[in-house]
């Protein structure tokens, strides 16, 4: 390829490898927050409190229709204005976790709504508690249809982690930028980052599909 230096590429590969670990950690951390917080946001929209439902609904829409990179800046710069000092990692995790929580809450909502009404009524007639209704009847049935969406957003969060570089989280893109400005060579670092992303996201997308069919079979659906 044009002007491609293999020895330089091999020289920077270990450094990018370490940064990949940070990227995976950021994706994993953000996703863990999103999974829990997303459930909270989804369940908050199912309470009989009209006002709470409305506020949470608008909040989710707001998060979903504004850019993640702007939200990252917002969390990072606004918290100190109120006397809270957040490290780049902390603010990055909050921003990306919140962003994907909004998306996952929609996935959960779709899953819960796909459970037939009769299941709710059956729980009521057996006088099950709300908690038991969700934990033992609704969520196990809501999960399989939600799995595809959850998997897509896991890959999505991974692909959005480069945005964390803007506040100085030392993930892949940040490392590539640093290497590029140290050596005045951008071809190898940026191309390698692209290849690393492909090498992780394509197999994980395939794996998630396998996992999804496995779960469906395990639960006796299709």
């Amino acid at each position: 390829m044009f002007d491609w230096k293999w020895d330089f590429a091999f020289e920077i590969l270990p450094r990018l490898g370490w940064a990949t670990l940070n990227t995976l950690m950021a994706a994993g951390g953000g996703y863990a927050i999103a999974i829990v917080l997303g459930l909270v946001l989804a369940l908050a929209q199912r309470t009989p409190l009209r006002l709470l439902t409305f506020v949470v609904r608008e909040f989710v829409e707001f998060i979903r229709s504004t850019p993640l990179v702007l939200q990252i800046f917002f969390v990072f710069y606004v918290a100190p204005q109120f006397g809270i000092r957040l490290s780049p990692w902390t603010s990055g995790m909050i921003a990306i976790g919140l962003h994907y929580a909004a998306y996952l809450s929609e996935v959960y909502r779709g899953g819960i709504e796909s459970v037939p009404k009769g299941q709710w009524e059956a729980c009521r007639s057996l006088s099950m508690s709300t908690r038991d209704t969700y934990v033992r009847v609704i969520i196990p049935q809501a999960l399989p249809p939600a799995l595809a969406g959850m998997g897509n957003y896991l890959v999505g969060i991974f692909k959005d982690t480069p945005m964390l570089s803007v506040i100085g989280v030392a993930e892949l893109m940040h490392a590539a930028n640093a290497i590029g400005s140290e050596h005045y060579r951008f071809l190898e670092p940026y191309t390698l980052v692209g290849l690393i992303f492909l090498a992780i996201s394509l197999p994980s997308a395939a794996l998630i599909r396998v996992f999804e069919t496995w779960v469906r079979k395990k639960l006796g659906l299709s």
Binding site: F62, M173, G180, G194
Partner: protein
């Protein structure tokens, strides 16, 4: 300083940024739609020579990050003799990225058209091009409009990244104002609200309107 004084002082810059963001949005949307149509149709081809480039394109652009693609187009392409001005590089990257996602929507939309429609067009001995243009695509369009609404919101959000190659869009202006005033909540908060208004009061209602118009046109509503 009250928020109104802040707005009075910096409102002009927010407006300039919003106009650039709008420009980025419309240009990248046009590019994404064109790419989605071509790549989506190519992916449905029976000929592997036509199908493979589309599959490779879609997998590469969906498998990596928009930010990586943007930096690659802006910083690496010049090494291959293709130098794009930053404004152009911005909407080309966003358009190419979202076009790959759109291609899957086009493919899905076309495949959702009932088989009988293809057979009927065949029975009327329409040429393949005419069949696609007059019979299949209009129905596919109605099927895929709702997901396109979501995709256009993603596209709008994607345009915020062009600020990172110094295109003076809304995000960029917000960063600049933050840098000079240190009023982060006001600067970034205002930008967030403008993006929200753009998405919820312009893009989404327009797509809803388009959905009803198109559905009526092919006699579905």
């Amino acid at each position: 300083m009250s928020y109104w004084e802040f707005l009075a002082e910096h409102g002009g810059r927010f407006l300039d940024g919003t106009l650039i963001t709008a420009g980025q949005f419309f240009l990248s949307a046009a590019l994404a739609i064109a790419i989605a149509l071509v790549a989506g149709l190519m992916k449905l081809s029976d000929n592997a020579l036509i199908r493979t480039p589309a599959v490779v394109y879609i997998e590469i652009f969906r498998g990596t990050s928009l930010l990586v693609q943007l930096y690659w187009i802006f910083f690496v392409l010049p090494l291959f003799g293709i130098t794009l001005e930053k404004f152009t590089a911005g909407f080309v990257a966003v358009g190419m990225n979202l076009g790959a996602y759109g291609a899957e929507l086009v493919r899905g939309g076309i495949q959702s058209v009932p088989k009988g429609q293809w057979e009927a067009a065949y029975a009327l001995s329409m040429s393949p091009a005419r069949r696609m243009w007059r019979i299949i695509l209009p129905q596919a369009l109605v099927n895929m409009l709702p997901p396109w609404g979501n995709l256009l919101i993603e596209l709008l959000k994607g345009t915020a990244l062009v600020s990172l190659i110094s295109v003076a869009d809304l995000m960029f202006e917000a960063k600049q104002i933050n840098g000079s005033t240190f009023l982060s909540a006001q600067a970034f908060g205002t930008a967030l609200i403008i993006y929200y208004i753009f998405a919820r009061l312009i893009v989404t209602p327009f797509m809803r309107w388009l959905e009803t118009v198109m559905a009526r046109k092919i006699g579905k509503a």
